[in-house]
Amino acid sequence: MKQALKRFFDGDLWYSFSHSPVVILSAVITLLIILSAIFAPMIAPHNPFDLASIDIMDSNLPPAWNEFDGDMRFLLGTDDQGRDILSTILYGARISLLVGFASVAFSVVLGVGLGLISGYAGGRTDTFIMRIADVQLSFPAILIALLIDGVARGIFPRDLHDELAVYVLIFAIGISGWVQYARTVRGATMVEKGKEYVQAARVIGIRPGTILFRHILPNVTGPVLVIGTIHLALAIITEATLSFLGVGVPPTTPSLGTLIRIGNDYLFSGEWWISIFPGIALILLVLAVNLLGDWLRDALNPKLR
């Protein structure tokens, strides 16, 4: 263990990380947001979903530093129902991150699985899977996610919509993102397939499934981490966009996108803080994750070493 740690700190990855202030800052911001989202119930000043603790008299209060109506209890102001903006952001980031991570995980499982099968089986299976990938790739991910969301709304009865919204979103965003993983893994699998260790495994009679997942899989997952990080930022944006459009997470358990949508209605009457603060949180999160992804891509790319 100690040896492994020492090797990590002597390695290229740690060197390039510790020598780039921008990357360190991004990592700190990402970690801060993730931690504060996880521990939201403990650190949030109010519980915005406890109906007993919110008071309609506190509604639409501006941020605390406003000299007229600012209230020290509500650092970033309150929304139309008197919920504390800072607390709703903390709880909202939870939903955003949950949907983001879960949909990326879903894309990875689906994409890596199909990519492995496609690359290993070849022939007609390969053509079939890659054709679907081609067709899907010619449409923007957000359109596919929107469509799946719409279909899900048609299939499930209306009263289940809100309950299932988060799962539908994870499924929709996950499906819309698998192609990149599949293509990368397929290419790598085709290279690995011809190598001697795979031939050896085949000769001693190991089943194809075991060869694929026990032997080839560990050798093709390198780029998946990089794609995954950049995809996480995209998935969070997609979730926020869908929620903003009103087809994502319902207002009863709002994500950052839903909060921005709620606040958008109050923009014209001057209550800018309801949508702008969740917006800033979203920008910070996405920008930080994006920068981390860019750094990982460059740091792990053997061509740039």
Partner: protein, 327 residues
Amino acid sequence: MISFIVKRLLQSVMVMLTVAFVAFALFNYVGDPISNMVGQDTTFAEREQLREQLGLNDPFLVQFGRFVGNAVQGDFGLSYHHKQPVSNLIAERMPATLELSFISALISLLLGIPLGVYTALNRDSIMTKIIMTGSLIGVSLPTFLIGILMILLFGVVWRVLPTFGRGDVVMLGWWSTGLLTVTGLKSIIMPAFTLALFQMTLIMRLVRAEMLEVLRTDFIKFARARGLPRRSVNYRHALKNTLVPVITITGLQIGSIIAFAIITESVFQWPGMGLLFIQAISDVDIPIMAAYLVMIALFFVVINLIVDILYFLVDPRLRVDRVSGSH
């Protein structure tokens, strides 16, 4: 050349049939079309009669064939929500979306290419660093947030631009245009810039990368050595050679612009197809969803086809390869 185009055409038809199939499946298997059309007090016998009348009991392939036949003629049935033919609804909304997309594409080209050239030619200037940092933020910001920030600045704080709708429109035959009135022009500024920003940064980065690549090549060095004027080397020789990928990406991006217009239209309440589609998703209005899906797919396929053919015409190397390859 002909065989290449025919091959691409066949591929496009296959893609369209696949999409039509998905749209048809949506139509028939998501919810019951009959119960979406009739009221609660319709008897079972009446429902069965309507089902027979509409041909919903016919074999699958017959129904699919009829759907494709109708779709080719632009007939997608009645909207469940608006109780109007879907084709009318879309025809009414299409000019708004196409005008918005066209203006955005124009903005992103007219700003993206010069910015890309500038940042490639002046690699170390402060201006370049500012533009490059700005473009990183432009790529990371979600479209709808850019729209909200613009509304806040220009609509609420400074009150210089209208924040929703198209303004006054003029009818040119069946095409409604907002580009001929002052309010219409003012209304399109914010949505068009919001929509253009992402594509603009993309084009700028692409032009910059390609320019840097081309400027390193021998023929540029030779052109400089011959003592050609700098302007001629930069624009006639270098820029011209970067345009092939730019054409491809721009062409492919036109499709995304139309798709991303959904978000922009929703932020600015722009009465286009995207807004119609979003409302259709909330109302589970399947005919509109199916029609929109087919329309968008058609746009994408046609654009891809045009880009491929243009590619062929612009890049002579490709032509030689293909022709010699086909023999």
